[in-house]
C-alpha cells in the first residue's frame, strides 16, 4: 500500500516535469503563428543583428588568429557585414556547431543563421530563407594519387563517398551516384581525414571549400561534380525564424546589390588571403593560445559545475532522506530524469529551450546544464556516503537529544563527505572529460578549440592528438592532487 502511494507520487512528479518541458517549448509555435512580423523593427530597435555560424567551413566562415586574438572571417561574414551596414545596425557573431545554427534562429538565440546553408525543401519547413546569395557549385575532393582513376562522377559509381551529415552533398551522393556507399560525418575536417586515410574514395563538398583544401593540401585534388541541379536548392542562403518576412525582404535587397556588383569575388579573394597567412605555420605550438584558452574554459566549467553539483547533490540527498513524501518524490524524479537523458540533450535544452524564457549566454548555459547534470550524480554519491555512516552514530546522536537536522549537520554529513571524497574527486575528473559536450553550443572549451585548429590548419590528426594529451595531463595531475588531499585528510583524523 505504502509503496504504491509512493509510486503514484513519483509518476505525478515525473509528469509535472515533462509538462514543464512541454510548456517551455510550446510558445514558439504560438508566437510564430500569430505574432505580427516585427522581425526587422526589433533588430533596428536593438541596433544589432545576431548571426549564428559554425566557423569551420572555409572559405565561407572560419577562425583566424592574429596577435593571439582569434576572430571569425570568411565570405559569409563579409556579406553579413554589408547587410548590417545596409540595415544601419551592428553585427554580432555567435559561433556554435553546425547542428545548432538553425535551432538558434528557431529559438531566437540569433536573428540569422549563415553557415553555407543550402535551403532544402525540408529546411524550408522549419525556417524562412533569403535568396540564394552564392552558388559555388558542387565538387568532389579526391586523393591526388587517384586522379587517373576518378576522372568524373561516373567513375565514382559503387565507391565510398563521404559527405557532411544532413547536407545537400550527402543527399546528392545518395541519390545521384549509382551504387555508392555514402558515409556521413559531422565535420569536413573529419571527412578529409577519412579521405586521406582511404576510408572513403571521394568527398562531396562545395566547390569553394574544395578549392580551399586543394590549395592548402598538396595530397588532394578535386573534380567537378557534373550534377544537374535546381539552382534554388543548391546555393547558399541565410535562414531566419519563420514569419520574418520584413527582415528577409530587407536582407534580400542587400543580396541583390551584392550580386549585381559581384562583391563575392572580392570576399572570396580576401578569405583566400586569410587562409594563406593562416596555413604557413601549422605547427601545434603556433596554436598554443587556442589550446590554452580551451584548457581554461574546460577547467572553469568543470570546477564551477562540481561546486554547484555538490551543493545541488547535497540538497537532493537531504530531500531524499526527508520525511516529506513530496520532497522525496521530487528528488527521485529529478535524479531519474537527469540520469535517463544524455548530457548533450540537456545542454541543448538549457541553451535553446530555456533560452525562450530567459536568454542565457552559451557559457552560462553550459555551466548550468553541466551543474544540473552533475547534481544528480553527486546526489547518488552523497546518498551512498550517508548510508555508509554507521547507524550507531545516528542513534548515539539521537540518544543525546540532538534534533535530526543537527545529527545530519554535525555527525552524519561530515563523516559522509569524508567517505565520499574519492568518489567526488572522480566526479570532478570525469566532468573535465564530459564537459567537452558544451562545445556544441559554441562554448570555447578544449574540444571547440580543437575543431577550430583542425579547420584552420587542414591537419586532421595532430590537433586531436594534442588535445588527447592535454586531457590526459589534466586528469592525471588532478587525480594526483586529489590523492594528495585524500591522504592528508586520512592523517588529519
Amino acid at each position: 500500500m505504502k509503496a504504491k502511494g509512493k509510486n503514484i507520487l513519483l509518476t505525478i512528479v515525473t509528469l509535472c516535469l515533462s509538462l514543464f518541458v512541454l510548456f517551455t517549448v510550446q510558445p514558439t509555435h504560438h508566437t510564430t503563428a500569430y505574432a505580427a512580423d516585427d522581425s526587422l523593427q526589433k533588430i533596428k530597435d536593438r541596433g544589432k543583428i545576431v548571426m549564428a555560424t559554425s566557423p569551420d567551413y572555409p572559405p565561407y566562415e572560419f577562425q583566424v588568429s592574429k596577435n593571439g586574438k582569434s576572430r571569425i572571417v570568411g565570405m559569409d561574414v563579409d556579406i553579413m557585414k554589408q547587410v548590417a551596414k545596409d540595415l544601419g545596425v551592428k553585427l554580432e557573431i555567435k559561433s556554435m556547431s553546425y547542428d545548432s545554427v538553425l535551432v538558434a534562429v528557431e529559438t531566437g538565440k540569433a536573428d540569422v543563421a549563415m553557415s553555407g546553408i543550402n535551403p532544402t525543401a525540408k529546411r524550408r519547413q522549419s525556417v524562412d530563407f533569403s535568396e540564394i546569395y552564392y552558388n559555388g557549385g558542387q565538387s568532389f575532393l579526391i586523393n591526388k594519387t587517384d586522379v587517373g582513376k576518378y576522372k568524373n562522377k561516373a567513375a565514382l559509381a559503387h565507391k565510398k563517398i563521404g559527405a557532411q551529415t544532413g547536407t545537400l552533398q550527402y543527399n546528392l551522393a545518395k541519390s545521384k551516384i549509382p551504387g555508392a556507399t555514402v558515409k556521413g560525418m559531422d565535420k569536413n575536417t573529419d571527412l578529409v581525414l577519412a579521405l586521406k586515410t582511404h576510408k572513403i574514395d571521394a568527398l562531396g563538398i562545395e566547390t569553394p571549400s574544395a578549392e580551399a583544401y586543394v590549395k592548402n593540401d598538396h595530397d588532394l585534388a578535386m573534380i567537378k561534380s557534373g550534377y544537374h541541379l535546381n539552382k534554388n536548392e543548391t546555393g547558399s542562403a541565410m535562414a531566419f525564424k519563420k514569419g520574418s518576412g520584413t527582415l528577409a525582404a530587407a536582407v534580400n535587397k542587400s543580396i541583390d546589390k551584392i550580386k549585381a556588383k559581384h562583391m563575392t569575388t572580392q570576399y572570396l579573394a580576401d578569405a583566400g588571403k586569410y587562409m594563406k597567412v593562416n596555413t604557413t605555420n601549422t605547427s601545434m605550438i603556433h596554436y598554443w593560445t587556442y589550446f590554452a584558452k580551451g584548457i581554461e574554459y574546460t577547467l572553469l566549467i568543470s570546477a564551477i559545475s562540481v561546486i554547484f553539483g555538490v551543493l545541488l547533490g547535497t540538497i537532493l540527498a537531504l530531500m531524499r532522506f526527508s520525511k516529506s513524501k513530496l520532497l522525496h518524490a521530487i528528488s527521485v524524479a529529478y535524479v531519474e530524469f537527469v540520469r535517463g537523458t544524455p548530457l548533450m540533450v540537456q545542454v541543448m535544452f538549457v541553451y535553446f529551450g530555456v533560452g525562450i524564457i530567459v536568454n542565457l549566454p552559451a557559457l552560462l548555459s553550459g555551466i548550468i546544464a553541466v551543474s544540473l547534470n552533475s547534481g544528480a550524480y553527486v546526489e547518488e554519491i552523497i546518498r551512498g556516503g550517508i548510508n555508509s555512516v554507521d547507524k550507531g552514530q545516528t542513534e548515539a546522536s539521537a540518544s543525546l537529544g540532538l534534533a535530526k537536522s543537527d545529527t545530519m549537520r554535525f555527525v552524519v554529513l561530515p563523516q559522509a563527505l569524508k567517505n565520499i571524497w574519492p568518489a567526488l574527486g572522480n566526479e570532478f575528473v570525469s566532468l573535465v572529460k564530459e564537459s567537452s559536450i558544451v562545445s556544441i553550443i559554441g562554448v570555447t572549451d578544449l574540444i571547440y578549440q580543437l575543431n577550430i585548429v583542425r579547420a584552420d590548419t587542414y591537419r586532421g590528426v595532430m590537433p586531436v592528438f594534442v588535445a588527447m594529451c592535454i586531457y590526459f595531463v589534466m586528469t592525471f595531475i588532478l587525480t594526483r592532487v586529489l590523492n594528495y588531499f585524500e591522504g592528508r585528510m586520512k592523517h588529519a583524523k
Binding site: 554507521d390 550507531g392 552514530q393 542513534e395 548515539a396 546522536s397 539521537a398 540518544s399 543525546l400 537529544g401 540532538l402 534534533a403 543537527d406 554535525f410 555527525v411 561530515p414 563523516q415 569524508k418 583524523k493
Partner: protein, 248 residues
C-alpha cells in the same frame, strides 16, 4: 529512595514486521535503582533498552516516564526525555569527526543551549572524573576501547541525566580494559544514578545491582536479587543460562 517509580513498563510489545521481538514486558525502575538485564543473545535486551528512550517505537503497551506515556510525547518532550535518560552503547559510538572534547560539548551546546565556555568547563571536569582529561584534544580513533567507553559515559553525563541505559558496555572490550569501565559505572551507582544495565558481568551485578532481570523469548522470565538469581535460579531457562555463563 522515593516511592514513585521513575520508569514503568506495562505490557510492552515490539514487532519488526512479522517477528515478535518483545512479547510482553512488565517492569518498574525506581529512582536510584540499578537493574541488570541478562539473557541469551537475540532475546530482545537491546530492543527493550531502545524502547525505554524511544529510539524504537513500541508496537503495543506503554512505557511511562514519571507516570507519563512516552508514546504520546511531542518532539520537545522526546528531547527532554533523552536529555534525562542517557545511553551508552556496546560499540561506544563516539563521533569520529569530532575531538573528544567536542564529542562532549556538542549536545550541551545544541540541545541545552549552553555557552561554549560553560560546555567546555563541564566537559573538562567530566573527563577528569573518568580520568581522561589529557585526552581532551585527540580524536576518538586514537583511544583504546576502555578509554573510548569512558569518554562515551562522560558524553552521556554531560547532559546531566537522572538515568543511564547501558547496552553491554564491556562486551566489545579487551578483558584487561573491562575493569576501568566497570569502576566508573560503580562510582556512578554509588552516587545514586538510576541505571539499567544489560551485562553479563556477574561480579558487577552482584556488587552493584538491586535487581537482576532475566530475559528470554520476548518475556522477562525471572526477576530477583542478584545473589538469589545467580545461586538459586527458579526458572529452568534461567538455570540453564546461568550455568552456561558461569562455565564459560
Amino acid at each position: 529512595m522515593q516511592n514513585k517509580p521513575l520508569v514503568e513498563v506495562k505490557k510492552l510489545q515490539k514487532n519488526y514486521g512479522d517477528t515478535e521481538v518483545l512479547k510482553e514486558i512488565d517492569g518498574t525502575v525506581m529512582p536510584g535503582q540499578v537493574i541488570c538485564v541478562i539473557g541469551p543473545s537475540g532475546s530482545g535486551k537491546s530492543t527493550f533498552l531502545r524502547c525505554l528512550n524511544m529510539l524504537e517505537k513500541p508496537t503495543a503497551g506503554q512505557v511511562l516516564f514519571e507516570g507519563k506515556d512516552t508514546s504520546k510525547f511531542s518532539e520537545e518532550e522526546l528531547t527532554t526525555l533523552r536529555e534525562r535518560m542517557g545511553m551508552v552503547f556496546q560499540s561506544f559510538n563516539l563521533f569520529p569527526n569530532l575531538t573528544v572534547l567536542d564529542n562532549l560539548k556538542l549536545a550541551p551546546i545544541r540541545v541545552k543551549k549552553m555557552s561554549d565556555k560553560e560546555a567546555e568547563d563541564k566537559a573538562l571536569s567530566l573527563l577528569k572524573r573518568v580520568g581522561l582529561e589529557e585526552k581532551a584534544n585527540v580524536y576518538p580513533s586514537s583511544l583504546s576501547g576502555g578509554q573510548a567507553q569512558r569518554v562515551a559515559i562522560a558524553r552521556a553525563l554531560a547532559m546531566d541525566p537522572e538515568m543511564l541505559l547501558f547496552d553491554e558496555p564491556t562486551s566489545a572490550l579487551d578483558p584487561e580494559m573491562v575493569g576501568e569501565v566497570l569502576a566508573v559505572m560503580k562510582e556512578l551507582a554509588e552516587d545514586g544514578m538510576t541505571m539499567v544495565v544489560v551485562t553479563h558481568e556477574m561480579g558487577f551485578a552482584r556488587e552493584v545491582a538491586n535487581e537482576v532481570w532475566f530475559m528470554a523469548d520476548g518475556y522477562i522470565l525471572e526477576k530477583n536479587k542478584p545473589n538469589e538469581m545467580f545461586e538459586h535460579p527458579q526458572n529452568p531457562r534461567t538455570k540453564d543460562f546461568i550455568s552456561k555463563i558461569i562455565n564459560s
